[in-house]
């Protein structure tokens, strides 16, 4: 996952560590590199070190060890105001005593741009986020979504090559958030800026990013494009954290090439793809996505191992059906199916048989 020595890297973290108190490392040995124009999301639970990484990049925190490079030069000793990095804050941090236009003009003023040039850039930035008519308003007179657009415009108005966003959509309601996700990605790609985006919302990470870095415990657990992250999680944490996931625990009984057989704790056997297991007898957590579980008898692979299951609950969600099953002692085994004309509606209490393709079932670390 670390691409050290990458000459195309625009932003690079080299063996970066961070500790606040000299006892606990908040960021442990971080290696990360971004090519120009990439939209990278740092995703993780709170306290995983993602925001600290962002703040180190912005210059508000100093790395305890290691080096951060921007465009090939070390920025460890460059103060934040000389880094030229645009930043969108969680609560927008729009200056309440200035109008929207003055807010946008601020970064241009400190760069000593002429008045006409400033006005032109402010206008262009406001038009870019469809807020052209709001230049004279105060931030307090705007709705949350509008403030968010202004914060975005303010971070972009001085045309930085790198923009950092710290959970910028956290305060918005769902519908607005989805809309803004689209807006932000559109702008980032149109302007060709490199973006580092921090969030704890995995949907946001999956829909917006070119690549996602999943943080936990001060380390990047997996760095991959969204589809790969979802379909091919490299460890149990990522499998659990991204999307909905079913976990079964057991012991590896045989490995041959890219399939292995797992003996579950209740004695049943299943086929899986070995990812984090290497030898027979190792404990493992097996991960299967709910939509990859098959319970239509006609489609089950006769050669593969199947499991007996009991339907506990049927949840109607409109576009999909969701079933909660009891499988091998796990009462939270979830299965999803599309609400198609031929969809099977299972009833609570029904006994069924389930199975899956071995490559969809990943044997990960215990």
């Amino acid at each position: 996952m670390a691409e050290t020595g990458n000459h195309d890297a625009f932003v690079e973290f080299k063996r970066v560590q961070k500790s606040y108190d000299g006892e606990i490392l908040v960021v442990k040995d971080l290696n990360l590199s971004l090519p120009r124009g990439e939209f990278l999301t740092m995703l993780g639970p709170s306290g995983s070190g993602k925001t600290t990484c962002l703040m180190m990049l912005a210059g508000f925190e100093t790395a305890t060890h290691g080096e951060i490079l921007l465009g090939g030069t070390s920025i460890n000793n460059i103060p934040p105001h000389k880094r030229g990095i645009g930043m969108v804050f969680q609560n927008y941090a729009l200056f309440p005593h200035m109008t929207v236009a003055e807010n946008l003009s601020f970064p241009l003023e400190v760069r000593k741009l002429g008045k006409s040039e400033r006005e032109a850039k402010v206008k262009r930035a406001l038009d870019m986020v469809q807020m052209g008519e709001f230049g004279g308003r105060r931030p307090a007179q705007l709705s949350g979504g509008q403030q968010q657009r202004i914060a975005l415009a303010r971070a972009l108005v001085f045309e930085p090559e790198l923009v950092l966003m710290d959970e910028p959509l956290g305060a918005l309601d769902k519908q607005l958030r989805e809309h803004m996700q689209f807006e932000i990605t559109r702008l980032a790609h149109e302007l060709g800026i490199t973006t580092v985006y921090v969030t704890h919302d995995q949907t946001e990470a999956l829909t917006m990013s070119d690549r996602v870095a999943v943080f936990d415990d001060g380390r990047i657990q997996q760095l991959a494009p969204p589809d790969q992250l979802y379909e091919e999680p490299e460890n149990s944490f990522v499998a659990q954290f991204i999307g909905e996931n079913n976990t079964l625990e057991g012991v590896v009984t045989s490995i041959s090439g890219d399939t292995c057989v797992i003996k579950l704790d209740n004695g049943d056997e299943i086929d899986a793809k070995p990812i984090n297991v290497s030898k027979v007898g190792e404990r493992t957590k097996v991960s299967i996505r709910p939509e990859r579980v098959e319970f239509n008898k006609d489609r089950l692979n006769p050669k593969a191992h199947t499991l007996k299951a009991k339907v506990i609950e049927f949840i109607y969600m409109g576009d999909i059906f969701r079933f909660r099953l009891s499988v091998a002692g796990n009462d939270d085994f979830v299965v999803k199916t599309r609400n198609a004309p031929d969809a099977i509606k299972l009833q609570a209490g029904q006994d069924i048989e389930i199975g899956w393709l071995p490559q969809d079932c990943r044997a990960l670390d215990a």
Partner: protein, 428 residues
């Protein structure tokens, strides 16, 4: 609309409640009990404030123009004085003297003539003794039989034969006077209208100016000292901030008099500060600094005493300024100074404003500290007011001075509202 029982906003006319009464009236009725309860809760305070604050201030305002004493003590004389034209330069005629004796006999009986003398003495020195001494002689006269009185009175004291004596009485015989206010601004009421006081009696304008200028200096030095302290308080972690806050509040737990006296110990020429400076060799023993009984002393001591009133409002405003504002400014390329000056400082102005109003208004009326450490050069107008209330007993002048002080504060408050906006002020 008459048969409408449902509120119908589409039609014109007031919205009706379910029973047909206008909704507004129905709402008012349902809220009445709540309002009554609220009123009952604030009633004790309201009455207390009325009795202890509004009424005394009203009475003070009235006292600054009220001047019924001459008319009450010498009713007949005042009528005669109306007829007398002082501008001719001639003495009044016999009827006035007769009226005066008649009035005085009654006044002397009631022992009111000395009070009138004291009152007239504010306007012209010597009047007090004139009334007291003449009183003893006039007492023996009978207004009905012993006339004519003009020559007899001049015989008793030749001042009764002076034109000025009578013109002073006439000038101040009106029931509502501007005399106190004229005095308060170093002028006097004369038969020829308002005129400046003689040079040696002009002191109050100087005192007003000094009070204003020194209050401004004190306010400014409070701002300068309080700003960094408040910033530190607002930005430290809660534990250390609480500790610091206790230090800020500590002076409130000590008597004002003790603190001021402590400054006397510190500042005097043989005091701690001078000793240290001499010991350090920064000041020669022969030329010790004069830090007390002058304006410097008053400014130092009052800045110290009023400092918490500046720190607290500043702190409460600064606490609400999010640190991300500064980060945002820096991320956009602002240096530390620019970020402070363009972003933090403007956001902290409401705190400065609130603190300044508080400190300025408190210091403009401060009394004890200037009295103790101010000497003669460092006293404020309030010390003069206190003098007139407790020593010279010229309450009218004290009231006029107080009224002017009140007006100055209100004008400044108004000006502040125009410039900064009073809704920008936050006290917590």
């Amino acid at each position: 609309m008459s048969d409408a029982t449902q509120p119908d906003t589409a039609k014109a006319g007031p919205v009706l409640a379910a029973d047909g009464t206008p909704l507004k009236r129905s709402l008012a009725r349902s809220l009445r009990v709540q309002k009554m309860r609220a009123m009952a809760l604030i009633a004790p305070l309201l009455i207390f404030v009325l009795v202890s604050f509004i009424i005394p201030i009203g009475s003070m305002l009235f006292r600054s123009v009220e001047n019924g004493m001459v008319e009450q003590t010498l009713p007949l004389t005042v009528v005669e004085l109306q007829a007398w034209d002082a501008s001719t330069g001639e003495l009044p005629d016999e009827p006035l003297y007769a009226a005066f004796v008649a009035d005085m006999v009654i006044a002397i009986d009631a022992k009111r003539h000395t009070r009138l003398g004291t009152r007239m003495n504010y306007e012209k020195t010597g009047m007090s003794s004139l009334f007291r001494k003449s009183g003893r002689q006039i007492k023996k006269l009978d207004p009905a039989t012993d006339g004519p009185f003009k020559d007899q009175l001049i015989e008793i004291d030749k001042k009764w034969g002076e034109h000025e004596t009578w013109s002073v009485i006439k000038t101040h015989s009106v029931a509502i006077t501007n005399g106190y206010f004229l005095n308060a601004i170093d002028m006097q009421r004369t038969p020829d209208g308002a005129q400046a006081q003689p040079e040696d009696k002009r002191i109050l304008i100087t005192l007003f100016k000094r009070t204003l200028i020194m209050s401004m200096i004190i306010t400014c030095s409070c701002i300068a000292l309080a700003y960094p302290a408040a910033w530190l308080l607002a930005n430290l972690p809660a534990r250390s901030a609480n500790m610091l806050m206790i230090l800020v509040l500590l002076p409130f737990w000590t008597s004002l008099l003790v603190r001021t006296s402590a400054w006397k110990v510190m500042l005097q020429q043989q005091g701690v500060i001078n000793d240290v400076l001499v010991w350090l060799g920064m000041v020669s023993d022969a030329s010790r600094l004069v830090l007390i009984n002058n304006q410097t002393g008053t400014i130092i001591a009052m800045t110290h005493i009023l400092l918490p009133f500046m720190i607290l409002p500043m702190y409460s405003v600064m606490r609400t300024i999010q640190p991300t504002y500064l980060r945002a400014a820096k991320s956009m390329g602002a240096t530390n100074w620019t970020a402070f000056w363009r972003v933090y400082f403007p956001l902290s102005v409401p705190g400065i404003g609130a603190g300044s109003i508080l400190v300025f208004i408190l210091s403009i009326g401060y009394y004890i500290t200037p009295e103790i450490v101010g000497g003669t050069k460092g006293v404020f107008i309030s010390n003069r007011i206190a003098y007139h209330i407790s020593s010279s007993l010229n309450w009218g002048l004290a009231a006029a001075l107080g009224t002017i002080l009140l007006a100055v504060v209100l004008i400044l408050y108004w000006a502040y509202d125009k410039i900064v906006g009073i809704d920008n002020v936050k006290l917590g």
